[in-house]
């Protein structure tokens, strides 16, 4: 296994338009972002080999999966992928354990020990208690975890995740996102993730490819790409939120303090009370942050953070102000009305204060069971 870069250059005829996409993904997690109906799932299915209509070329490392000029089409069973669809697609006639081991034969051929993978995955995704259950008795979140675990135990060289959290309600998504981050951080399988959720892609992806009506309209580092005037309206429709990762450092009476960024130079953020002491993800809606040019006093918001304006953008109907809090903290995006930056006299490099209510901060903090 020398290179695991995924090279895609395909055309795919859909009902309303044609997907024409070319990209090379070499980062651990690449996201394909776009509104529903942009052709994301079809593209993922083409990569998986589940769509015979795709023309062009698809390659993982040195393995050519599709080369329609040379009439080469490698069927899905010989692509060594782990596919996790939106609805999980668990085998209803098998137990959780048997589902997790459904790809064990291939894993063995890849030189893995499926029994060992099973225990690793069961611990990572907290499935140990569910192993003997019938899958029809599982909840939505449990199903998605089993589906992810099945892909992880199958000796896959590439994980294809199709909106793995989209079928779940918000509280469940909050519980599952950390699982996906664990998989990313502790296992080394590259992932291609399809999503229309700005939080998900910021929390998971190293690189983002944005699709609209079948064509790539932007690509790059997720936070930067999402601020793109072409892209932000898509993200805004789903509710754009800043995503930060941090460590709880103190408990207050009814709130917790989370440290963001580097050990010495980061900032502290007051958030709703936390039950865990492991790493947490904090999300902050861009339209719930206020900008003040002077430090406000006598204000109910728990956080007033000094920041430096690094970018001012006009998106026509609204303005985006990006401000830096400190070393190692991703810049925060603040949504304002189009004329606000001019009315406040905002300039690049200017010091401002970001006013953030503790209750605007949403926390994605594992399942309450802290991790090392």
């Amino acid at each position: 296994m020398t290179s695991t870069a995924l090279d895609v250059d395909v055309r795919l005829a859909l009902d309303r338009f044609e997907v024409t996409v070319a990209f090379s993904a070499s980062k651990p997690v690449t996201g394909i972002f776009g509104a529903s109906g942009a052709g994301k799932t079809s593209l993922l299915e083409a990569v998986a080999g589940l769509r015979r209509g795709a023309r062009g070329r698809i390659r993982l490392g040195d393995d050519v999966w599709l080369d329609s000029d040379a009439r080469r089409f490698v069927p899905p069973e010989r692509r060594w992928i782990g596919y996790v669809p939106q609805d999980g697609l668990l085998f209803p006639h098998l137990s959780v354990r048997a589902n997790l081991l459904a790809g064990a034969r291939r894993a063995r051929r890849a030189g893995h020990n499926p029994e060992r993978s099973l225990s690793t995955v069961a611990e990572l995704l907290e499935l140990a208690r569910l192993l003997e259950r019938d899958v029809v008795t599982l909840s939505g979140g449990e199903r998605q975890r089993v589906s992810l675990g099945r892909a992880l135990c199958s000796g896959a060289r590439l994980l294809l995740l199709d909106e793995p959290l989209a079928s779940l309600d918000l509280p469940l998504r909050r519980r599952l996102l950390p699982f996906l981050r664990r998989v990313r951080d502790e296992l080394t399988v590259p992932m291609l993730l399809v999503s229309h959720d700005p939080i998900e892609v910021q929390a998971l992806c190293d690189e983002l490819i944005v699709l609209r009506e079948g064509t790539v309209v932007a690509r790059g580092e997720p936070r930067t790409v999402l601020r793109d005037p072409e892209v932000f309206p898509l993200a805004e429709k789903e509710g754009y939120e800043n995503v930060l990762s941090g460590r709880p450092v103190r408990q207050l009476a009814s709130t917790s303090v989370v440290h963001l960024g580097d050990e010495n130079s980061g900032v502290e953020l007051i958030v709703p009370r936390l039950a865990t002491d492991g790493e947490v993800l904090v999300t902050l809606p861009a339209n719930e942050i206020l900008i003040a040019t002077e430090s406000p006093r006598g204000i109910s918001a728990r956080n007033v953070l000094a920041a430096k304006v690094t970018e001012i953008r006009s998106l026509g109907h609204l303005g985006l102000v990006t401000a830096e809090l400190g070393e190692g903290v991703p810049p925060l995006v603040v949504e304002v009305t189009e004329t606000t930056p001019a009315e406040l006299g905002l300039e690049l490099g200017q010091q401002v204060f970001l006013v953030i209510k503790a209750t605007s901060c949403r926390l994605y903090g594992g399942s309450g069971e802290p991790r090392r």
Partner: protein, 226 residues
């Protein structure tokens, strides 16, 4: 008298069993092909398979008789040898098999159609080839429906009368099954014998249906009892 009844029952069971065993493979294949493949003449094939359901059984029997006649397409003059089926228990098997094909094939088709094709694709992404996908995903998921079809076919074969009588006759100790024995007893006015045979038919049918119920029990309750 009693030995006679036992031999009628055994013959009936043998005919139905052999007919069912003959039918399972081809009918399951037909059901799968109709459910999963697109090919030319699919509707025609589907209609042809259904024919024994709508034709009078005696017509089916007579059609088979014509085909097996000396100058028929399956007769001695065409094949160059004699299949030697007519008026033997094998002819009864053939008649019962043909009559039960539509039941098994059509139930199999519905059973296969009810299997989510995306689950089969999921199997493929986990490294299963086409055969492995069929045996590890499709067949287990269609299993209950297939079993129901087989039992349906078996009961049909048990009670087959019209086609059997036409093709195999109603020869004591050779081709006389429960169905034709009841008919004969009633025709000669031996109502005691007909009653007895009817009760045997009742018992056999009851056991078959009970077996179907037990075998087809919902598997999703398995986890709760464990």
């Amino acid at each position: 008298m009693n030995g006679d009844l036992v031999s009628i029952l055994l013959l009936t069971l043998r005919v139905a069993t052999v007919a069912t065993l003959l039918v399972i493979g081809p009918a399951t294949f037909l059901g799968y092909a109709l459910a999963r493949w697109d090919f030319r003449g699919k509707r025609l094939l589907s209609a042809a398979i259904g024919l024994p359901l709508v034709l009078p059984p005696t017509a089916v029997g007579f059609l088979l008789l014509r085909m097996l006649a000396v100058d028929g397409p399956l007769g001695r003059e065409t094949l160059g040898f004699d299949l030697g089926l007519l008026l033997t228990w094998k002819a009864a098997v053939l008649a019962a098999a043909v009559m039960s094909v539509p039941l098994v094939a059509r139930t199999a088709r519905v059973a296969f159609e009810s299997v989510e094709p995306r689950l089969e694709l999921m199997g493929r992404t986990l490294g299963y080839g086409r055969f492995e996908t069929f045996f590890r995903v499709t067949l287990p998921l269609a299993g209950r429906g297939l079993l129901a079809g087989v039992i349906l076919g078996f009961t049909r074969a048990l009670g087959e009368f019209g086609a059997t009588v036409t093709l195999a006759g109603n020869i004591p100790n050779s081709t006389r099954t429960l169905a034709s024995a009841i008919f004969s007893a009633q025709q000669v006015g031996n109502h005691d014998r007909a009653d007895l045979l009817m009760l045997i038919a009742l018992a056999v049918g009851f056991v078959a249906i009970l077996a179907a119920e037990l075998l087809g029990r919902d598997r999703s309750t398995r986890g709760d009892s464990a």
